[in-house]
Amino acid sequence: MAADATVATQFFVIQVVVQIIVMIICIWLSDLLKD
């Protein structure tokens, strides 16, 4: 039970970090930064 709670916390933190990294990469690769 406690182990599941730890895994859930890690899953939550990792998904937030991964989404922000993917956002930065996608914006960088897109035409949004080109004038």
Partner: protein, 464 residues
């Protein structure tokens, strides 16, 4: 023991909500004087800044589904409800439309002078007979009117919770009158600015209630620990809606959540926001603001559901027993003084109102710009077009109100129907038309002929 609402607390909460509505109405009335042409009414004259556009794009999408639905999903599904956010963010969701569509759509629609998605399609496909424009306008009117009706019903459910139960019919009418009035008065300009206010209101409201809860339970680590004690399925990655699934079905559930994001490119009330920005080079600021706002609001909304589950244990203890979608209302009523609870409960209402007004405007533009101005009276004066746009917005609001009054709770099901319908009708066509040169009018029409009957058939079958 379910959460109780005393008559005194109910009065104070309604006064707080009343103040909020007055603020929103005043903004609509003040901004009315900026509307001089039909382009002003439907696109704010393409003179809005990146942050207003970002908040407006977010507020237009984040409806009662985010204000009530996501907390409900968090309440039932626990940690796995976050797949919803991942799908909406990355599954060709908001990240996809901002990076693949926003800039090109803004540039192209200005070059060809298109004010609506159907007029963009007509110009992009060089459709001289207007078949694409007429068909797409009809699809938009059909799906979005039901969508607006669902927002009226959802708003009424918040009012009825504050009143301590009772009939939702009166509250549907009250919510509808407020939303229709300020949309008719101000058009896109007012809607974008009220969306900006409402976006902030929703963000702050959810932030306050979540902060109170996280302080009480010792942050996310403590909250997940409590969730494990309340019900171990809430923190088990193989469990959805309280049941444990085999790995293959876990994958199916995850894909189902992620598929929600596929509707994004096809929902005109969201992507039309890109066309209103003043400077194309500001699009990156708008994109980053909107995307971060999505992540914050979605996670806050799900956290509300988790906190409600830990606080109340079972849905039977919520303010309206048995319905997890009353998580936010129950937490606000039981944790905060009535005046503060009223302000917090304006947050989900802000989300519903900002979606309904945008949808009303897009539906009105489909009738005035894409049918009346294009096929019936191409030489109509600007002043007359603005007047007819206001009348049409009002009439469409009434039709949506009738949907809500006569179909009551079943209207909520039409949200899923409308989201999928619009996504299927316009999603791939919009995406490909902006990124692929070889797409043709025949291809677009073939997709509609293949997909739309399937959706309608599916809807009829489900009803039976």
């Amino acid at each position: 023991m379910p959460v109780q609402v005393t008559p005194e607390a109910s009065t104070v909460m309604f006064v707080s909500l009343g103040i909020y509505f007055v603020i929103v109405l005043i903004i609509g009335i003040i901004l009315e004087r900026f509307v001089k042409s039909v382009a002003d009414y439907f696109l704010g004259g393409r003179r809005l800044g990146p942050y207003v556009i970002a908040f407006s794009e977010r507020a237009s999408e984040m409806s009662g589904w985010v204000g009530l639905g996501l907390p409900g999903e968090g309440f039932t599904s626990g940690i796995n409800a976050t797949w919803n956010t991942i799908g909406c963010f990355m599954g060709i969701g908001d990240l996809g439309v901002w990076t693949l569509m926003a800039k090109r759509l803004r540039r192209y629609t200005e070059v060809v002078g298109a004010l609506t998605i159907p007029s963009y399609l007509e110009a992009r496909f060089n459709d001289t007979k207007g078949v694409l424009r007429f068909t797409s306008a009809v699809i938009i009117i059909l799906f979005l009117t039901a969508y607006v009706g669902a927002q009226f019903t959802a708003a009424a459910k918040v009012f009825s919770a504050i009143a301590g139960g009772g009939s939702v019919t009166t509250w549907i009418v009250v919510g509808a009158i407020i939303m229709i009035l300020y949309t008719v008065l101000g058009g896109f300009f007012a809607v974008c600015w009220t969306d900006f206010v409402q976006g902030w209101w929703a963000l702050i409201g959810l932030l306050i209630i979540t902060s109170v809860g996280l302080a009480k339970y010792g942050g996310f680590g403590g909250l997940f620990q409590k969730m494990a004690e309340t019900d171990p399925t809430l923190v088990n990655l193989n469990c959805f809606w309280g049941y444990e699934y085999i790995p293959a079905l876990v994958l199916v559930n995850i894909l189902a959540y992620i598929a929600i994001g596929f509707g994004w490119p096809g929902n005109p009330h969201i992507i039309v926001r890109f066309m209103g920005i003043k400077k194309v080079k500001d699009m990156k600021k708008a994109a980053v603001t909107a995307l971060l706002l999505l992540l914050v609001v979605y996670y806050l909304a799900q956290s509300v559901g988790w906190l409600a589950r830990v606080e109340f244990g079972s849905a039977d203890n919520l303010v309206v027993p048995g319905d997890p979608e009353y998580s936010l209302q129950s937490l606000a009523i039981s944790w905060l003084p009535p005046a503060a609870a009223g302000i917090i409960l304006a947050a989900p209402l802000a989300l519903m109102m900002s979606t309904a007004d945008s949808q009303l405007l897009v539906s009105a533009s489909a009738i005035i710009e894409d049918i009346y101005h294009r096929f019936i009276n191409p030489k109509a004066e600007e002043r007359k077009l603005v007047l007819w746009s206001r009348i049409t917005t009002f009439l469409l609001g009434i039709i949506a109100l009738i949907w809500a009054l006569f179909f009551g709770e079943s209207v909520y099901l039409f949200v899923l129907f409308a989201w999928g319908g619009l996504g299927a009708a316009f999603g791939s066509i919009m995406l490909l038309s902006l990124r692929w040169k070889r797409i043709t009018t025949t291809g677009a029409l073939q997709e509609w002929l293949l997909v739309q009957p399937q959706l309608l058939f599916g809807r009829v079958m489900r009803r039976d």
